[in-house]
Subunit: 635 residues, 2 copies
């Protein structure tokens, strides 16, 4: 096989690969994780690299749409579609590396009481004698009990550990470290190591998303996070969304998808372990929160029956399995705990959100909203809970909007509009020249256009305004957010009336879902103590603007909270505190699931919500005051 | 490969084998289990066959000692040492087949309350609908609960079964049979089958002996034995006794011995399943009682530390493992339960004896004696128990006795002597001409020689008696049990004074052990309500003669009971009644182990016991009366 050397800049990392290897594969083998949302299919245009020197094969005609002329002249190509021919020097722009992606890794930072289900005990035993010939296992378990561990009779050793005991005890001169995990059935001796390794006991909390995977690595002795890592979900190569992946599984079997899920987690675990400088064998427990389909796939359970009527998951309860059994590489006897689900639509990620915001522990009523391509809403308190889910449409994630984009570098994420000049001020992710607008930017844009009276409450652009930013060049009237020369894409970035219509439809779905649950529970917006936003979308959202456009019911702005990546925050809690874990099935069973399509009131609520903020302004008294003030000001 | 046809007579079973295959292998493949005590090493001479026609290779010089001239002329050879050359017709004498061996398979036949830990439930479920979209697992578990099974929340499904659920439910049109096993940690769903298979639920109780394996197959629905099978322990090819096998493991690793133990059990399971006409996949549980070393080896746990000071087992508690994990082929999710042990010398087989004779459930004091090459003695009641073990020497099993032999066909097993003519009457195993004397026959012989005044209480033969049966041809005086022409071996079968000495030493060890335990507990022979004999030896033993020679303390003959194969009888109870199983660890922990070598009184007792029946005749008042009567009668 002809081997070629690829040198990646600016890090000067070198790797030898066979001729014909893609640059993406070469980079991955060199330990450089690229941003490949589509899983390396040449679809997302995220894995841009520049060939500085050497021969490579790339069809710049076919993929030209992803690049400006200038970029193509500089040797731009897609790493996933470029084949190494000769020795290469390849420049990877910072934004192409996945570390630079704005994956939400920070969960809620409230301190969690440290009660892990895995503990290590260092014990020094007296060797057996003729007068004390008790068996190795008893001797060990008594030693553990004396060192503060569980009662000897309540501990047990699985066969694989039992078989190790006699040699480990004797090789270590009877000085060993035992790892005990609390599992259903008792305290399980999951590892026995020579000498004192009691300081090395780690666990991982995993947010298993359809797009990205986030891992928090915890020191279970000190109760501190030691590192965080993220990875894209490599299943993307089998389908961009859940539906596509389940269909892939129906056609090709589940094993590849299962292996890709495990591999994606393993890569994140490796990277988190490397960052923290720990041995992966010292990770004794992995806690995973994911949606119901992702969890089924990871566990190798057929998700097929969830995507067609009557939408039935195989299992909803929490599951504990041997991590190695499903291909997760941590300690060979390490366990994996998967969050329970309510239904196929309300999965373990939402249960984790609930755990993270503590809404199931309080008397006050809270509303939890998790928005992505789909949205999930939960309303309730420690006594009762209602939930529902729906398709928000892709608008809030930047889809179906001309210059919409995901929260990647170059996305406008914050924006204000000067009410007099109508000029915007914006900031972009990573502070580079704008390439588009992401969800939080779009919400800002909508609210600012409304309060600047550029649009009316139906979303129509007032084309009578005499301002170069308001124009009609194509089918629809539009507002120019950024002029071509200030952008990275050399084009005017605009928002059209059609974009605005799509955005309003999306926000109306979310609002109508909230109101449907409130009606179901007989609760008015004044009774809601807190609205929690979970997920990346909520985290960067301007609370006031979200209320102004009527994405959510109006309550005090200070009552709106972002819990960030609630899935990983909840997984963190369940990892660190086994008592919290015990409540999960109870929470899941408590939550009633409301099928929105079966609720006639939902459509009415939806229609009423397709105004900014709503047909009934009395539900948004503060927004009304603000709009009145703006109108007066504008004359 | 050149293939040859071997036809076995009288069954006319045919098998095609490669030229050069041993006749033993050919017979095994034809489903004919031969008696190969040595494991096929040409050492035991048990696998005698006769070549009726055809060409075979056998060294009749080397193995001539196993045959009479007449046999050799008839084409006798050892199946394990004979290679197939041409097409063959081979006669297998009945005695060569293992079914004909006197392996003790009958355990205690008391009815056992039926409370198995594995149950099947046939359930017909309503398919999910939009208004009832509960998950497959919940639907199934609720169905099981409604059909009289455990509470749904207390049941759980391991991953391998969980993965099967959706397809089995749908393929069977929601009519399925679930198998639930009670395990530590709850009720485990171990199997899910289409349609109604609830009548097919079986379990196996196994006596894992160092020499032989006995399997009882039970119908767990009706609580009846459906078949019984036995097999020699194929580990014999790695060493005849426990010590040799542990040394083999130290040298070569444990894996071969482990695999041979599993294979030996598997063969017996197959043969029992075939007899009963059941599918081995319908065996859901296997309960194994074996000595501590055998149990360690079967579980793949190193037994090395048990054969040298300070004699430490790795584990003594009862263990539940996945049967497939250690190579036992039953249902893929079937469980294996291994009896606990007290020490390296008092193993699961003795705990099974205790369960079988119910001595741990009674107020009255019992004495349990299990005699083989080694012996184990347990004294106690439901409050307390003492145990000890020792080497009886091989005499009681027919070793170290000139014409002693194991309980194989042709062994004299019962014997009386006419006090006037001194002629014996005897019966042999299978009623064929005698080839030697086995343990029970030797006990009879000793007692009868004593009461006929042929020997005195020290075991010396009275050579002054004028009778052709009493003579001195070699080193020692001897008594002729059978004249050459009435035997199968064409030699006089005799017992020598030296044989008698060895027998007395063996019986003295057992008696001294009993007395040592009694002294330890402060119990006299009058306080013992029952003496139980366990094992093959005890089963064929004449109680009166055993007392007469002082093998055991004298109590009423009707207080002496044979429990037969107590190991399998105890395993049966534990299989059929899970409550009994729960008491085992408690029993094992209750038993104090007395190290005889550390008890100074043991040697004194031993010396006192080297008389027939004992130096102190007042301990044997009935024997004394009888001996007095004999002496008077003889003048």
């Amino acid at each position: 096989m002809a081997m070629r050397t690829v040198t990646f800049l600016p890090s000067y990392r070198k790797i030898e690969v066979a001729r014909g290897t893609t640059i993406l594969d070469a980079a991955q083998r060199a330990g450089l994780n690229m941003n490949v949302v589509c899983g390396g299919q040449g679809k997302c245009g995220k894995c841009i690299v520049f060939i500085q020197s050497g021969k490579a094969e790339f069809d710049s005609q076919k993929y030209g749409r992803f690049f400006s002329e200038e970029e193509l002249q500089k040797g731009a190509c897609l790493a996933c579609e470029t084949l190494v021919q000769g020795d290469l020097h390849v420049i990877i722009p910072e934004n192409t590396l996945i570390q630079e992606q704005k994956i939400l890794v920070a969960g809620q930072e409230n301190p969690i009481e440290l009660r892990p289900s895995v503990k290590k005990y260092y014990v020094e035993l007296l060797p057996p004698t003729l007068s004390d010939p008790s068996p190795d296992l008893s001797r060990l378990l008594w030693g553990i009990q004396k060192s503060g561990g569980p009662v000897a009779e309540k501990m047990y050793a699985p066969l694989e550990v039992l078989r190790e005991i006699p040699s480990v005890l004797r090789h270590s001169d009877w000085k060993v470290t035992a790892t005990i995990a609390l599992v259903p059935g008792g305290y399980r001796l999951i590892d026995l190591q020579e000498n004192d390794t009691s300081k090395r006991v780690y666990g991982a909390a995993v947010d298993l998303g359809s797009t990205t995977i986030v891992v928090y690595l915890w020191d279970l002795l000190s109760g501190r996070t030691v590192s965080v890592a993220s990875n894209y979900n490599r299943q993307i190569s089998c389908g961009e969304d859940i539906l596509a992946r389940v269909n892939y599984a129906r056609k090709n079997g589940l094993s590849r998808l299962q292996a890709l899920a495990a591999e994606s987690i393993n890569q994140a675990l490796t990277s988190a372990s490397n960052t923290a400088g720990i041995d992966r064998e010292d990770i004794y427990e992995v806690v995973v929160a994911g949606n119901t389909v992702m969890t089924h796939i990871l566990l190798g359970i057929d998700p097929a029956y969830m995507i067609a009527e009557p939408y039935v998951p195989v299992v909803r309860r929490a599951l504990s399995v041997a991590a190695g059994r499903i291909g997760i590489t941590c300690n060979p006897n390490g366990g994996l705990f998967a969050f329970p689900a309510v239904s196929d639509f309300i999965g373990g990620d939402i249960i984790a959100d609930i755990l993270a915001c503590h809404m199931a522990e309080r008397d006050e009523i809270s509303l939890l909203i998790d928005i992505g391509t789909n949205f999930e809403v939960v309303l309730g308190n420690k006594e009762w809970m209602f939930s529902c889910a729906g398709a928000a449409g892709p608008a809030l994630e930047g889809g179906e909007v001309l210059f919409g984009m995901r929260a990647n570098p170059g996305a406008i994420e914050k924006l204000t509009i000067d009410p007099d000049t109508l000029d915007p001020r914006y900031s972009t992710i990573n502070g580079i020249k704008p390439r588009g607008i992401c969800g939080s930017g779009l919400i800002d844009l909508l609210a600012e256009l409304l309060t600047a009276c550029v649009i009316d409450r139906t979303g129509r652009i007032n084309t009578t305004i005499d301002n170069p930013r308001i124009r009609k060049t194509g089918h629809f009237p539009e507002y120019v957010v950024a002029w071509a020369d200030e952008t990275d894409i050399r084009k005017d970035i605009v928002i059209t009336e059609n974009d605005i219509k799509n955005l309003i439809m999306s926000k109306a779905s979310v609002h109508a879902a909230c109101v449907t649950l409130m009606k179901q529970a007989g609760v008015t917006h004044t009774e809601i103590s807190t609205i929690y936003f979970a997920g990346a979308f909520g985290n960067y959202l301007d609370k006031k603007n979200a209320t102004t456009i009527g994405l959510i019911p109006e309550i005090g702005f200070d009552q709106i909270k972002n819990i960030g990546n609630g899935a990983v925050a909840g997984a963190n809690i369940a990892l660190i505190n086994r008592r919290a874990r015990k409540t999960l099935d109870e929470i899941a069973y408590k939550i009633a699931y409301i099928e929105l399509n079966a609720e006639s009131s939902f459509m009415d609520e939806y229609t009423s919500s397709t105004f900014l903020p709503h047909t009934d302004l009395s539900l948004f008294p503060n927004v009304q005051k603000m709009l009145d003030a703006c109108r007066i000001r504008k004359g």
